[in-house]
């Protein structure tokens, strides 16, 4: 029997019970679709987390003094606390290539908040960051319109400001209209130099409700001359984040004469580590989803076995006739195997198409990202499911003795 004849016989077999074949295919389709979609969701959520972290800046170390809330409260700062406070000199030392060769860029950070007004409009900016120009590339915060401030602006304590998207929109209606305007922050006039590019949220706060000013200006006008809140350090390379971290720790420990017996007063957050951790979490999540989906695929496969067993029983007499007419074992086996495989392949195709459609939409707040290999895998598995789960009924059919099959009622 040629493959074409086998296919014809198998198709006729499937067509004989359309509803049953359809429901069995649906089982496989759901299994295959679930594998693809759920893996895509897992992958998508992993990617979303990764994107957010990358938006925060890669190769990034954030240094702060440890203790409640990332730094000593100004009022409570005792002598020991002051001894360990981060200073502009620390930042300058970290930027020194000889002292910390694996550090590419350093930006001291002080934060404050204040109400900005433009004409009649006022808007409270939760986070006014005082820093140096290095902060922008290091934290992956590009300027979308206008320009960044420069080292001269920092040196001259010039009253210039970069507004986040939300702040600019609130104050000027359109973000682009802000550039060149003057706003009041507290009692001081600032010229808007540029507007920052929009950022995805990394937590509960709107990352676009910010403003960035030269650190010297912030100290002079708003925050005073207390310790730095943070020093942002960018490692020279992705692979040098760990060595950079070691250098930073060593340098700060030496500069502030931290006794070897005490635990380090500096807390260094490593963006690469966070990224790694969240990627691991996402991988676990994906694996979990894939497992659930795989189970549904197996259930679909069992559906194929079940329906093929029914089919073989129903068509025992037909098998007997075929054998009486000279069908060999292989011909019967082939017919039922192809029937089972067609069932699951057609189901698989429907599942793939459905998954492609479904994964275009956001699911549970996650934009699924298709993994091509998962499509190939799910499709291949669905074919294998047909062969595997169909082989038992097919063997049963092929093994029937012609006389027993013919006598079957």
């Amino acid at each position: 029997m040629s493959p074409r004849d086998l296919f014809g016989a198998a198709l006729r077999g499937l067509g004989a019970n359309k509803m049953r074949s359809l429901l069995t295919m649906l089982g496989v389709a759901i299994g295959v679709g679930a594998v693809i979609v759920l893996v895509a969701v897992g992958n998508g959520s992993g990617k979303a987390v990764q994107d957010r972290l990358e938006a925060m800046g890669t190769n990034l170390l954030t240094v702060s003094t440890s203790g409640g809330g990332g730094g000593f409260q100004r009022g409570q700062a005792g002598p020991a606390a002051q001894q360990y406070s981060l200073t502009l000199d620390d930042a300058a030392a970290l930027a020194d290539n000889r002292l910390a060769p694996d550090v590419a860029a350093v930006a001291p950070v002080m934060t404050s908040n204040g109400t900005a007004t433009s004409g009649d409009v006022s808007y409270t900016i939760n986070q006014v960051i005082g820093t140096t120009p290095e902060y922008l590339p290091a934290t992956n915060t590009p300027v979308s319109t206008g320009a960044s401030f420069t080292k001269q602006d920092v040196d001259g304590s010039r009253r210039v400001i970069l507004l986040g998207q939300t702040a600019a929109t609130e104050l000027f209606g359109r973000a682009n209209a802000a550039v060149g305007q003057t706003i009041k922050l507290g009692a001081v006039d600032f010229t808007v130099l540029g507007v920052l590019a929009s950022k995805d949220s990394t937590g509960f706060n709107d990352p676009n409700a910010t403003a960035i000013v030269p650190i010297s200006t912030l100290r002079a006008t708003q925050a005073g001359y207390g310790p730095l809140n943070q020093i942002v350090v960018q490692a020279a390379d992705k692979d040098k984040v760990d060595t950079a971290q070691a250098e930073v720790t060593q340098l700060l420990t030496a500069r502030h004469q931290v006794p070897a017996t005490t635990t380090s007063p500096y807390r260094i957050t490593n963006s690469a580590q966070i990224l790694q951790t969240s990627q691991d979490t996402a991988a676990t999540f994906t694996a979990l989803l894939a497992t659930v989906a795989a189970i549904s695929l197996i259930v679909g496969g069992i559906g194929v076995t079940n329906i093929m067993l029914v089919t073989v029983t129903e068509r025992t007499r037909e098998i007997g006739i075929r054998k009486a007419l000279g069908a060999r074992r292989r011909a019967i086996l082939g017919q039922f195997l192809i029937e089972a495989t067609l069932l699951s392949l057609l189901g698989g195709t429907v599942g793939v198409i459905a998954a492609l459609v479904v994964s275009r939409f956001q699911l549970a707040g996650v934009q699924p990202v298709l993994v091509p290999s998962s499509i190939a895998l799910a499709f291949g598995v669905s074919a294998a499911v047909g062969l595997f789960f169909g082989s038992m009924p097919a063997h049963r059919a092929a093994g029937l003795r012609p006389i027993d099959a013919l006598r079957h009622e």
Partner: protein, 231 residues
């Protein structure tokens, strides 16, 4: 023994089950059928004639004894080789027609040719010719449930003839047919035999047996008489 006997079964027994409950369907049957004969096997139900038919058709294997079909000891063949013998040398006509449901008459007739690995176009041709022979050329697209009993049996005969087998084995071929269809089918058998085809008919109707040239009577698993029929 003459080597040219088409069917030669020697002291064949067939036992179902074992011990006290064993059923002896055949208790040592020997039968020789030469090519071109028209044999009717008669007997009451339970006499073992259907078992004989199954063994003759390679659908079942004897418990003991030899079965030489066209010079081969069929009982020794593997399952697949027996399938080959069924496909090449034997054409079956069953009481209940045994056409494949939801499949056109033409496709039904083509089926044994498919298993004989014939090319598609040749299959078509031969199946059409066989349907013409039984006078159903105009019904080739009809499915079994769209045909009358007599028509179904004629399709079955066409199917049995399609491969050009040496033997036509018919098991109660007229059991489910009305008088008119019975005459048609028996007439067809007569014609086929006249053309030189060996026909073996199992029946319990004397009317059917009258068409044969040799009558074998069965009782309790044994042949009780074997004689020529004079018309």
């Amino acid at each position: 023994m003459a080597a040219d006997a088409l069917i030669d079964i020697r002291n064949v027994t067939k036992t179902y089950g074992a011990g006290e409950t064993a059923v002896h369907a055949l208790r040592g049957v020997s039968l020789r059928v030469e090519a071109g004969e028209y044999v009717a096997v008669m007997g009451s139900s339970g006499s073992g004639k259907s078992t004989l038919m199954n063994i003759l058709g390679c659908l079942d294997t004897p418990t003991r004894g030899e079965y030489w079909l066209d010079g081969t000891n069929v009982a020794r063949l593997t399952e697949d080789q027996q399938a080959l013998v069924r496909g090449r040398k034997i054409g079956f006509v069953f009481q209940s027609f045994n056409l494949i449901p939801r499949t056109s008459a033409l496709a039904n007739v083509e089926l044994p040719l498919t298993y004989a690995h014939l090319r598609r176009t040749e299959r078509r041709q031969r199946a059409r010719r066989a349907l013409e022979l039984v006078g159903l050329a105009d019904r080739e697209d009809h499915r079994p449930n769209q045909l009358s009993g007599g028509q179904q049996q004629r399709v079955a005969i066409a199917r049995a003839l399609a491969t050009g087998p040496r033997i036509l084995l018919a098991d109660e071929p007229t059991g489910n047919l009305d008088a008119h269809s019975t005459d048609e089918v028996l007439g067809m058998f007569d014609e086929l035999n006249a053309e030189g085809r060996t026909v073996v008919v199992i029946t319990h109707e004397t009317e059917v047996a009258q068409h044969a040239r040799r009558l074998v009577l069965f009782s309790d698993g044994r042949i009780v008489s074997d004689e020529k029929v004079t018309r």
